[in-house]
Each structure stands twice: as C-alpha cells, then as structure tokens.
Symmetry: C2
Subunit: 207 residues, 2 copies
Amino acid sequence: MTSRNPQGAIEKRRQILDAAIRTFARQGFHACRVSDIADEAGVAYGLVYHYFRSKDEILDTLFLERWDVLLAAIREVDDGDLPAREKLRSIATFIVESYRHDPELMKVIIVEVTRAANSFGRRHLGKISEAYALIAEIVAKAQADGEFKSDVTPQFAAMAFYGAIEQVLTGWIFDLLPSGSEDFPQATSFIIETICGGLEHPAVHSR
Amino acid sequence: MTSRNPQGAIEKRRQILDAAIRTFARQGFHACRVSDIADEAGVAYGLVYHYFRSKDEILDTLFLERWDVLLAAIREVDDGDLPAREKLRSIATFIVESYRHDPELMKVIIVEVTRAANSFGRRHLGKISEAYALIAEIVAKAQADGEFKSDVTPQFAAMAFYGAIEQVLTGWIFDLLPSGSEDFPQATSFIIETICGGLEHPAVHSR
DNA sequence: CTGCCGGTTGACTCGCCAGTCAATCTCGTC
DNA sequence: GACGAGATTGACTGGCGAGTCAACCGGCAG
C-alpha cells in the first residue's frame, strides 16, 4: 500500500520543492547546499534524499514540471487558427505572465537551466529545443500562408523571438529593467510589435 | 628589474590564457580543473598560480579583455552619424564576426559569463550593462530624430536586440542552428531586418 | 665563479559538501 | 497492544579539487 501517506508525503515533497525554488533563487544552484534547502523547508537533511535521488534531481523536477506546462501551452496555441502574430502574442504573454506569477521559479528555470548551457541546459537541450521547434513551426506556417515574408528561416526567427523574451525576463530578474505592473503587458506588446513587425511584409513606402 | 622576462613571461601568460579558452570551451568552467588548463598549456600546475591569483581571475581576464573591445567598438559606432539601422547593423556584424573569428572564446564569454547570471554574470553585471546602455542610447537618439517610433522604451529595445543576437549565437554554439559560412551574414541581416523593421515607423497599409 | 632572483615544478593540505546510513519515530492494522 | 512499513532524523564519510609551498632551475650581474 502506498496509502500510508494519506497525502502527507506528497505535501512534504512539495514543501521541499518550494523551499528549493526559494533557495535556488536566492543563492543560486551551485552556491546553495542541500542543507540550506532542508533548513528552508524545515525538514531534516536526510529527508531531502528520501524524496529525491540527488540535488540535481530537484532542479530537474522543477524545470520539467514547468517546461511541460509551457510546451503544452505553446501546442495549444499552435493548434488554434489565429494569425501568427496572435499566436506569438499568446506565447509571449504566457511566458511573461509565468514570470509575473512566480518570478522566483522563472528565475531558477532561466538562470539555472535555460541559460546554463554547460550544466543543466545541456542535459535538457532536447526539451528546450522543442519549444524553439514549435515556435519555428508557427513561423513556417505563417510564411506558407503569406502572413510573414520568407526571407528568414523559421529557425532563426524562433531564436530571435525567444531570445528577445528571455533577455527581457533576465532584465527584470536582475533589475536592469523596470518591472512595475504596467511594464509586463507593455513589454509583451513591444516584443510582438518589434518581432512581428520585422517578420511581416514591409509596407509600401518603406525601403 | 622586470626585464628578466625579455618577453618569455608574457608569452607564457598568453599561453595559459589560450589554453584556458580551449579548456573552458570544451569542458565548461566548473567542470574543468586547473590541472586541465595547465596540461593543455603544457606547463606545471603551480605556474598557473604564478600568473593568476585564482581560477576565477583567468575567466575574468578573458572576459574583460574581450568585452572592452566590444564596448570600444560600440562606442565608435555610436559616435559616428550613420542612421540607427546602420549603427545597429555594425554592432550585430561585429558580434557575429567575433564569433566567426574565435568561436571558442565567444562560447566561453557567453556561456560562462554573460548568461551565467549567478556566478560571473553577477560580478560583471555592470560591465555587461554598459553595452545595453550604449545600445539603448542609439535607440533613444533615433527616436528623438524620428527614425524610430517612440512607443517602446530604448531599454527594452536594447534588451530585445541584444537578446536576439545572443540567442542566435547560442544556437550556433549548441548546433541548434546551421552555421555554414553563408549563415553568418544572413543571420546578421535578418536580425537587423526584424528588429529595425519593428522599431521603425510602420508603413501605410500595414495593421 | 658565485650569488641572486624570477620562473618553474608538482606533491601535498585542507575545507567543503553531496550523499550514506543506522537509529528513531509515527501511525495504521490486526 | 504490538507489529511493521514508511517517514524522519542528523552525525558521519569520502572524494574532489582549489590553492600552497618548499625545492629546484637557469641565466645575468658583479
């Protein structure tokens, strides 16, 4: 029977994960010790190893949990039949709102995984690229439909789009950009404006 | 007298730095040991500590050396009186060419410093932001002149621009994007097209 | 020839921290 | 009320790798 934990065990596990988010966000993955996480969670050192095989597995869990949600969101948008500009807007909004809702978790995911190409980033490269590929697909479809011009490969466009978003999040994370509540939607629409503006067909008079 | 090293010492120092670039690029900063650098350079372990106070100082040196060159290049472009689009093109070209010329060094700088926000990135945040600020200034000037529209803050625009470039480089570094010799100028002009296209005034028919 | 000093060597130290494990607790079950 | 399985505890170990250091080398100066 696993029913020994009416749900206490699941809660404890969650409690450790949440403590890990705070601890990783505050100190960084490498700089924090497992004992810091245990302290933050208010549990004994050894209990962390009852629920997770290693310190790495904690971060892996946090990343995968969240990234799968992101991928699902992108896929859902992708399947709809909005114009590409609106699809990309939904994705950008989703990511920005994720940050607004839980900045610590997003900080950990971006700083310790997505941009940590030599440690966790490499391990999860496949998962991360799935997002790029889905975005590229949206661009490719828009190019086929004539909504976007075709002088740029979808792969490059996807990277530029995602890179712009992530850099803005990074700016918020490290206080290089203002992050008042009105800045979030503004940044989102700016990114869409900029990237889609460049991707769409140029208008008559320009260049 | 320091003239004891007719120049042999300076060469040795350089030799260690070059070995460090290769070693960091191959294994990553954290995964490589100081002894790996020494081996790669063909010198004894202890000699590394004759020229550098610590392992960190080696990476700091590599980063500052290169970043100062980048800042100088941006400043020079900034001082000219090209249209903003061409200024940004010069900057993008400079960065992309830096990568083409020495991919290992750029990999180290991007992966281990620029995007390593919890270790070296934090230490050099000031230096890194200087680049963002200079780019933002170009955008601000273009907005004042009417070349760019003003519905986006220069700071956001700078982050998006730099983020797009860095993400493309990251794509090359990790083989997510094709990096044949024709891809470099193409990517550059794409980024300019996209970002400037979005920053400039929209043309008549669009939207 | 001798002394000196910067350059060079690599074996060793020392602190840190992930991960282990044996002991203890808790609580549902019979 | 006692048995057992999972939950919980925290002291301990083991390995790793950055940084130290005492010895050694080689060439120039006097």
